[in-house]
Subunit: 251 residues, 4 copies
């Protein structure tokens, strides 16, 4: 049974018209956040505000780089060469790191966004592009990656520290990938189901869509702030973890 | 008579379709460069290549932040608040600084681009927005600014080091501003005229459009790489400075 | 006393992550809408969905062109030349018009967005840039403009038809400009105040912030969909207009 | 032996810093042009100037839509859904069409750009997205597509007219695809080779990289304006076609 768990959330995901109310509400419930770097969302003003908010709440700050796809919110795979991807990630993480340091903080981790995250989980070339960039920023930077993924392996081989990310509101397949949102049964809507899955994570296991009971290593749980009822769910998770004496703390 | 002079040039100013031939040709003739940060030009791949090129040629690397105006190449004044401007500059300079450091270099200076440079030269609020950002990146960062400008004063008051920039191919007005390109006589087209103006700079003086002989402090000369005959002019300037025993070296 | 009134609303203002729920909710209460064209917000997918939604609800479709300022949501004045502005407006209105026609609809009007709208209201050169573009799209196109503004005059001189826009939730100054949001008393928060101002519009008059009772010509009322309680307010306005036997219909 | 041939060229491919000299030089040698629509290049000012230039030279005007990838110049495949692609193409072609009509011209054809062109040539879903959009703009619009490609088939099935495009300076493989630029022998550098390939096109045949003599239908030849010696090559092609009594005229 694990004794501590990180809760992370993707924030600062507005461009042009920043609505800080939503991010303000979720901040008290998380221990780390992943801030959009301007390529899928997040203009400089939004980034600046979100970093300040995270520092106030003592939430660990991560960079959340994406494919350069503002129109598609970074949710579409793009066929970039490793060099192109490396330059894109370097640019975004550098911007986030510098802005964080200018406000007296320091960059805690990197978590790729959307299609980049999912594609790197299973595609070695994409994983290499990300990892090559992150290593240059800091040799032993912390990377949030799916447990048991190619991204996780490539990162560790290159010397990065990896924080295994799990999803409390998504069903897993037998190969430990997330069940596609296009298929039925992909998302857990009931609070009890989500809490049940977290209870499994604490014991190091997960029940897949097809019913297998498989081992899983969970260092950080991702909370989706843009789903309805996100706040209520955050409160419920907090209460449950407290009752289990699990400390909520950044990786 | 001054014994050393910096020659700087704006580089990496392509987006999407990078033509490194032009930048490669001008590199041997300059001691410092100002690299576009993505807001008026310069995608991550272009930036990455230009930094590498500068490091190979041992040319000092500067960030060249702009208003967020890709369509207008940063040549149009935008009515940003000081906070918005601060965030924009922080983002761009951080990106350039991080990418430079990841390649083993270090950021030498900051030079605002286009409309931002010209507007900050005479508008205190705009100058403040830039300076507030740069101070946060590094307390005593070097800033390239027009000699005798408001930007220069605000920067020095805030503790930044300032490198006075002069233009060899542009006529000055009596108030030491550059004569507007919209007016006749704004640009020096003849090589002898340009060399003549540089000869004046070495002695600390400049003859204005109206014929006054005024004092000017010149630390760095800006070379425009996008005008026809830029290379030939660069060679001529080099020869002239050598003959005068003036060392070409970054500020 | 006027017998009909248009209610318009700015829609499709999302980029990358489109939330059609908000727009769907407001559609039943309006007779015309102004769809973002991609320069302050509104990617092609968002535009496509919003046009379809408007056609379903038989809401008249307008183009809502902006300065090219995605980061600033089009809320910052940009110093564009008349030619640059003309090209920008032509591009945006053409895109909206073509997409609307491809879905079997037709473009009903043009309403400039944000800083462009406000600046053109009092700056003749900016008004000219917009009007020159719109006239080329259609000689007698309908333009939404503030009553008694320079934009309105320039448009009528050029042969455009003008629909006078008024704001129910904003206080007017004695010169008929909107009281700046930076000043106290700019926004009417109480439902009764808003309804009271509309009652005045129906009679052709408005009480300014300083208490003057001035004549105003109202053809269309702008409803802000992004303020809290927008839906409740829309319902209240509808009820009031019905009771007054005022038909809600596009200009 | 064919008696007429169109020569087309991709133009207006600048963003922010428009250099009309290059486009001006190539205009006298072509009968149709494909104008960038803002997604891989081409801001509104560049588009406006290029349309004017084409009208002056009586060159037929085409829209040149792309994936939304300004950073990658539209040269990278993006995984868009058919709906997303349809909206993207509708937006771009509408903008070009409206701007052309506002200047008194009319849109002659559509030619997809870069990765979109190449991917649609062999991928049915991508071809469908493009064709669905173009049909909505005009039922029997003219589409430039590679001879014998899936895009060509899908377009004709949907009722579009197709103009078969061939490349004079690129080697063909036995399956009639262009030899990849990454492989040796992809590009014809010698003027005689290019003229030789055009001579083949006139007779309806092409010799592939591996030496096969295959039939090919050529309606339009694409001239690349960004390669060195483009102008000289254009002159040579003109002379050759004149000698052969082949009229150079838009499809």
């Amino acid at each position: 049974m694990i004794s501590k768990l990180d809760i992370n959330c993707d924030l600062g995901e507005f461009y042009g018209m920043y609505d800080e109310r939503r991010d303000s509400k979720i901040m008290p419930f998380i221990s780390s956040c992943n801030i959009a770097c301007g390529f899928h969302s997040g203009d400089p003003v939004a980034i600046h505000k979100t970093i300040r908010l995270a520092l106030e709440h003592e939430v660990a700050i991560g960079a959340h780089p994406s494919y350069p796809d503002l129109q598609g919110f970074g949710r579409r795979v793009m066929n970039l060469s490793t060099d192109e991807l490396e330059a894109c990630v370097l640019y975004q993480v550098s911007a986030l790191k510098g802005m964080t340091e200018s406000l007296g903080g320091c960059l805690h981790h990197v978590k790729p966004h959307g299609a980049l995250y999912n594609h790197a989980a299973k595609n070695e070339e994409t994983a290499m592009g990300i990892v090559k960039a992150v290593v240059q920023i800091k040799e032993d930077m912390l990377l949030y990656a799916p447990a048991h993924s190619i991204l996780s392996e490539v990162a560790q081989d290159a010397g990065l520290r990896v924080c295994n990310e799990v999803f409390a509101d998504r069903r897993y397949e037998n190969d430990m990938s997330l069940r596609s949102r296009k298929l039925e049964g992909a998302v857990l809507h009931q609070e009890e189901e989500v809490i049940g899955q977290i209870a499994g994570f604490l014991k190091g296991e997960v029940v897949t869509y097809e019913g297998l009971d498989l081992p899983i290593k969970a260092d950080t749980v991702c909370l989706h702030s843009d789903t309805e009822g996100a706040e209520e769910l955050a409160v419920a998770i907090h209460k449950f973890l407290e009752k289990q004496n699990v400390e909520i703390v950044a990786c």
